[in-house]
């Protein structure tokens, strides 16, 4: 039966989607020397269906309603679409914007497509084995676990540092009563979605 209330319902389509998880703090502009990528030369190889899917996902991130998304959301959209780009790669695509630009500058869907294509063309090749090997470095006892405390330090101090909230979300339920993390299970968990 059709509902009898909320005559305004169709308008909802234009309303912003629920806020996505806050974007990670942007890295300070890395190596400004890196040349901006020439996106106009990127050949788009998506099918019409794919483009529609992407457009829909893209629309979900538009919190203003101008059919654009902020710079600092680009990485998350790509991730939502199954990619694992590094912040550095995305920054490079965006022409290494300042922290301020990350928040205030916006991108339209047509400009986003070549970026996504670039990322898909050079995917993050690391796989389960690589991650496990990488974490094994911290496995002192050689028993398949690493200290949760150390993992936190590594993730928050090395590379593209993650903040406490991100790490907490990531590690939720992964530490055993001794504070150890089974890293194979951990990597599997992360690669499960």
């Amino acid at each position: 039966m059709a509902p009898k209330k909320d005559p305004k319902a169709p308008a909802k389509k234009a309303e912003p989607a629920p806020a996505p998880a806050p974007a990670p703090a942007p890295e300070p502009a890395a190596a400004p020397k890196a040349p901006a990528v020439d996106l106009s030369s990127v050949k788009i190889e998506f099918s019409a269906d794919q483009v529609e899917d992407y457009r829909e996902a893209f629309g979900l991130f538009d919190r203003v309603g101008d059919n654009k998304v902020a710079y600092n959301q680009i990485a998350d959209i790509m991730r939502a679409l199954g990619q694992n780009p590094t912040n550095k790669e995305v920054n490079k695509l965006l022409g290494n914007p300042s922290a301020d630009d990350m928040v205030h500058k916006r991108v339209e869907f047509e400009a986003f497509l070549p970026m996504l294509q670039t990322i898909i063309n050079s995917p993050n090749k690391a796989g389960f084995e690589d991650y496990v090997e990488g974490l094994r470095v911290f496995d002192k006892e050689g028993n398949g676990t690493v200290m949760g405390a150390e993992l936190r330090i590594v993730l928050s101090t090395l590379g593209e540092k993650m903040n406490e909230a991100e790490i907490d979300a990531l590690m939720a339920g992964q530490e055993d009563e001794n504070g150890c993390v089974n890293y194979e299970a951990f990597v599997k968990h992360i690669m499960s979605v």
Binding site: A21, R79, N87, V154, L155, L170, N178
Partner: protein
């Protein structure tokens, strides 16, 4: 990088951490120095020459003639001719203000001094020197101890950040967690060099870093488990509003210092807040690296300060704090007067510039509250302090006709006895005519004025010392969290450094002995063990004798026999009835005159009695009062009175078992000892108070049993606690902090070159650098080396099994290291200073690559999870939208309305329902049918079975019947017969 981008405010701070440029980047040092200055240095051939005023002055070499060098001073253009040894090479300007002096190409006193001075003038007070960290007291507040700075150092490696006490703390904390090895941080230096301040910074850092997983799930989950019920209640309420970042334990830990300082620190000529005791703070951590408890041990409280102070010095802060800060009511309770009414406050009230005693009093009381002291405990402590002062106001007179002391005015004694809860008459008797053991009997012995005065002072000192010990004990109780298992600890030692005055006494001997031991520990870890390990590991190594083995000097002091050392001889003298300080010196000279570190002044009139050549230099000792100081005699009659005090707190203080160390009570008087008078009444009591036996109302003097004749002197007790400390330290990985006082005027920005040079020599900074550069200070077992650095040499080691040594050698080959930089031993690889740091850097770089990819995957995981949720929300929305939209469209369409009205009436629309009903009825019926059918079949089968059975049985029954009939027939026949 991130620091610079955050704006000007923080930028100012980094000025105090590193020279210009980026933080910690080695290349940045070059920026302020132009190529021109480099060329200048090369052309002028600059060197350092000794200078009266500046320690060393820069000069350029004019001419070299054999062993002589002609130089021209840079500033005055004066020309000098010096011997070659006096000239020290200058480092290229590129090395100006280097963060680690072990990096200097020319390592000499002049360069080290110059570097420290340059850095000090730029506000950079911390400098590494090989394995030490050197800090020069800035005598002003630098903005480098804020929480944001703590955050900057957190998780960073030593070489990543400018030198700082935080970097040392971080390194200790990190290696405790990584290597599961206990750590110690040893702060040494002269009074006023900043030991205590830096100790506090270490604690501040650890309290912040090891408890601030506030958002962390593990931290949250653990808390309630470890805290007992009542505590977690108070915790919940106070935590929120009082301090967000620290837990209760951490706050108490931070409060321990202010309390200890109030009771154990005083203003001296050198230092307004000088610690008059040494301490070892042990912070315990659990496996996850959270603080789980702490323990403080103290050494050598300068208790004589409680009764006498030198010019411009004060007694312990708490006395003044109490006198200025106590409320009127409290003052009345404590019978307080004003500062100049007390004889023990030799200098009356001496204010400390910039400090308010009454404000500090409030703070001390607040700290004690946080620490969990009850108000009763606080008041009791103040009472005892007031009593200590009151002791001094008791005065004795010499009787006219004989030597006996008398007390004509007993006002002070009454006040004292009121405060301490003892009977004034008994007290007076105990002081003036105590019972003394003579042979096997006890007799009443009248005291002279000198004896009574001495007894009073000794009691005051002992009372204060016991109060202090009780305080430490009480703090330890608050900081002890037995519920939580400690896995490892970091110990922080804050103890006075070498003391060389013109004439030195027993206290200096103890301090210097301690430092000798600590330096030995350093040499031992850094050097002897090192060389032994090289040997064990079969590494080619020429033994180098740095002339630093301090064992001879330590033996001279602590050796028990063959020949006995200073302490043993001193103890021995305490046994002899006629012994004096003189006889002690004579015996010492006789026993040790040949010892290379012992030196007896030749002129008999010389001020010093003997000298000991410590590693830091020759120290002249004067043996006056050493016997008394070593025996620490106490009037045991009064002690037993105090033990029976009606005041619970006082009797607790004098109860033996609150002390960790058993004490000796022997009774004698100062005066007899000095005059070497009749020995019959000088009885060395050998009563050792045994806490276990002192149950009944026994008095100290009479009732307690003598135990094995063991007699424990101050020297023995100290030696014991030092031995214990050293044993603890030896099992830790030591980190050394050398504190340096820049001038004796407490002035900021002034550095007295000779004073600093003396300290550098004393504390072994220069030797430390040398050892560090010549040896292989970093070593790592093969297995760990492979596990840690295999990532740097992909494909160097075959996947198949390979033993550790072979694997490590392959890896090193792949790393293409200079052969001089490493040695491969039997079980470990050895590296020169800095190599491992370089490998670590490369490894971090390499790991970073993997980590970045992993972080991207992790972020992808998080983003997709969030997106999935969003999509679900979206599709839920879509369903609602579709329905709403459909409804809106139809709602006003007349046909639809008609349709909805008519629809229920239409037969057709019901057909479906009817069919459904019929169908279900049909279904039911057919189900029933099949069920019945089944039943029928079953029954049929049963019937057939029964039939079959019957047919089998029937013949049997018939046969039976027949035989039965036959039987009956037989029977009837026989009966009839």
């Amino acid at each position: 990088m991130s620091i610079r981008s955050t704006g000007g405010g923080v930028n100012d701070v980094t000025r105090f951490l590193s020279t210009g440029g980026g933080l910690g980047s080695p290349t940045s040092n070059a920026t302020p120095f132009s190529a021109a200055s480099q060329a200048d240095w090369a052309a002028k051939r600059l060197v350092w020459v000794p200078s009266e005023k500046h320690g060393f002055e820069s000069a350029s070499i004019r001419e070299e003639r054999g062993d002589e060098v002609e130089v021209e001073l840079t500033d005055s253009q004066r020309k000098l001719t010096l011997s070659r040894e006096e000239v020290q090479r200058m480092n290229p300007p590129r090395f100006s203000k280097v963060e680690d002096m072990a990096d200097l190409t020319c390592l000499n006193e002049a360069s080290v001094l110059h570097n420290l001075r340059e850095r000090y003038y730029s506000g950079l007070i911390y400098t590494y020197s090989g394995l030490f960290c050197v800090v020069v007291n800035p005598y002003k507040n630098l903005p480098i101890y804020t929480e944001s700075i703590v955050e900057m150092y957190r998780g960073k490696k030593r070489h990543e950040m400018p030198p700082h006490i935080y970097a040392i703390s971080e390194a200790a904390y990190r290696s405790m967690l990584q290597d599961r090895e206990d750590q110690s941080i040893l702060c040494t230096g002269e009074s006023g060099a900043g030991k205590t301040e830096n100790t506090k910074k270490v604690i501040q850092y650890l309290a912040h870093v090891a408890s601030s997983h506030k958002g962390g799930t593990s931290g949250k989950n653990k808390e309630p488990v470890q805290m007992d019920g009542s505590r977690s209640l108070t915790r919940g309420s106070t935590l929120v509003n009082k301090s967000l970042q620290y837990g209760e334990l951490e706050r108490q830990l931070l409060q321990a210092n202010p309390i200890l300082e109030a009771f154990g620190n005083a203003k001296t000529v050198k230092n307004d807040n000088s610690s008059r005791f040494g301490k070892f703070i042990r912070i315990n951590f659990d496996v996850a690296g959270y603080i789980v408890g702490a323990n403080i041990e103290t050494y050598l409280l300068e208790k004589s300060r409680a009764i006498r102070q030198a010019k411009d010095e004060r007694t312990f802060h708490i006395f003044y704090q109490m006198l200025c800060g106590a409320s009127e009511e409290t003052r009345a309770d404590l019978l307080l007067g004003s500062a100049d009414e007390y004889r023990f406050l030799t200098r009356g009230s001496v204010p400390v510039p910039g400090q308010s005693d009454s404000e500090n009093f409030t703070q001390t009381m607040d700290s004690m509250g946080i620490m969990g002291f009850t108000p009763e405990e606080s008041v009791s402590m103040l009472k005892v302090i007031s009593a200590v002062l009151q002791f001094g106001n008791i005065s004795f007179m010499k009787e006219k006709n004989h030597d006996q002391a008398s007390m004509p005015d007993n006002t002070a004694a009454q006040k004292l006895c009121h405060l301490l809860g003892i009977n004034v008459l008994e007290f007076t008797r105990a002081i003036l005519t105590p019972r003394i053991k003579v042979g096997r009997e006890y007799v009443q012995k009248a005291q002279t004025k000198e004896q009574a005065d001495f007894a009073i002072e000794a009691l005051a000192k002992a009372t204060y010392e016991r109060l202090f010990r009780w305080l430490v004990h009480r703090i330890n109780r608050a900081l002890d969290r037995r519920q939580r298992q400690g896995a490892s600890f970091i110990g922080i030692l804050d103890i006075a450094g070498f003391e060389i005055f013109q004439l030195n006494s027993f206290e200096q001997l103890c301090i210097n002995y301690t430092n000798e031991k600590l330096q030995q520990l350093f040499n031992h870890t850094m050097f002897i063990l090192e060389q032994e390990e090289y040997q064990r590991e079969g590494i080619e190594w020429n033994f180098i004798d740095f002339g630093l083995d301090l064992q001879p000097c330590i033996d001279l002091i602590e050796r028990p026999a063959h020949p006995p050392g200073v302490l043993a001889l001193l103890d021995e003298e305490c046994w002899f009835p006629r012994a004096t300080d003189r006889t002690f010196v004579e015996k010492l000279s006789a026993e040790q005159s040949k010892h290379p570190k012992f030196f007896k002044s030749k002129q008999p009139r010389g001020e010093a009695d003997f000298s000991i050549i410590h590693y830091a230099g020759k120290v002249d000792y004067k043996a006056d009062d050493w016997l008394v100081k070593n025996m620490d005699p106490l009037n045991d009659n009064v002690a037993s009175l105090l033990h029976q005090s009606s005041d619970h707190f006082v009797s607790e203080l004098w109860k033996e078992d609150i002390q960790t160390l058993p004490r000796v009570y022997f009774f004698d008087s100062y005066a007899t000892l000095q005059t070497n008078g009749s020995d019959m009444d000088r009885i060395v009591g050998l009563d050792q108070v045994s806490s276990g036996e002192s149950s009944g109302p026994v008095t100290f003097g009479a009732g307690l049993k003598t135990k094995k004749g063991m007699f424990r002197t101050v020297g023995q007790l100290y030696k014991e606690s030092l031995t214990k400390l050293m044993a603890t330290l030896r099992n830790t990985n030591p980190n050394f902090l050398r504190c340096i006082i820049p001038n004796h005027e407490k002035r900021a920005g002034k550095l007295d070159p000779h004073l600093v040079l003396d300290q550098l020599r004393c504390n072994g900074v220069l030797e430390g650098i040398r050892i560090c550069r010549q040896g292989f200070p970093n070593r790592i077992p093969f297995q760990e080396f492979r596990q840690r650095y295999e990532i740097l040499t992909p494909n160097a080691i075959p996947r198949t099994f390979m033993d550790g040594k072979q694997a490590s050698e392959l890896m090193i080959r792949a790393l293409e290291l200079d052969p001089n930089l490493f040695r491969v031993g039997q079980s470990k690889v050895f590296f020169r200073a800095g190599v491992l740091a370089h490998l670590e850097e490369e490894r971090d770089l390499k790991i970073t690559d993997t980590i970045i990819h992993f972080q991207s995957a992790a972020r992808g995981f998080l983003a997709r999870k969030a997106f999935l949720k969003k999509q679900q929300q979206l599709s839920a929305l879509r369903v609602m939208q579709r329905n709403c939209y459909a409804y809106l469209k139809l709602r006003n369409w007349q046909w639809w309305r008609l349709f909805t009205k008519v629809k229920p009436l239409l037969q057709v629309t019901r057909q479906d329902e009817e069919i459904q009903a019929r169908e279900s009825a049909l279904l039911k019926a057919s189900e029933k049918l099949s069920k019945v059918e089944q039943e029928y079949i079953d029954l049929d089968k049963k019937h057939a079975q029964v039939n079959e059975y019957c047919s089998v049985l029937l013949p049997v029954v018939e046969e039976y019947m027949m035989s039965l009939t036959a039987y009956y027939l037989d029977m009837s026949c026989s009966v009839s017969l």
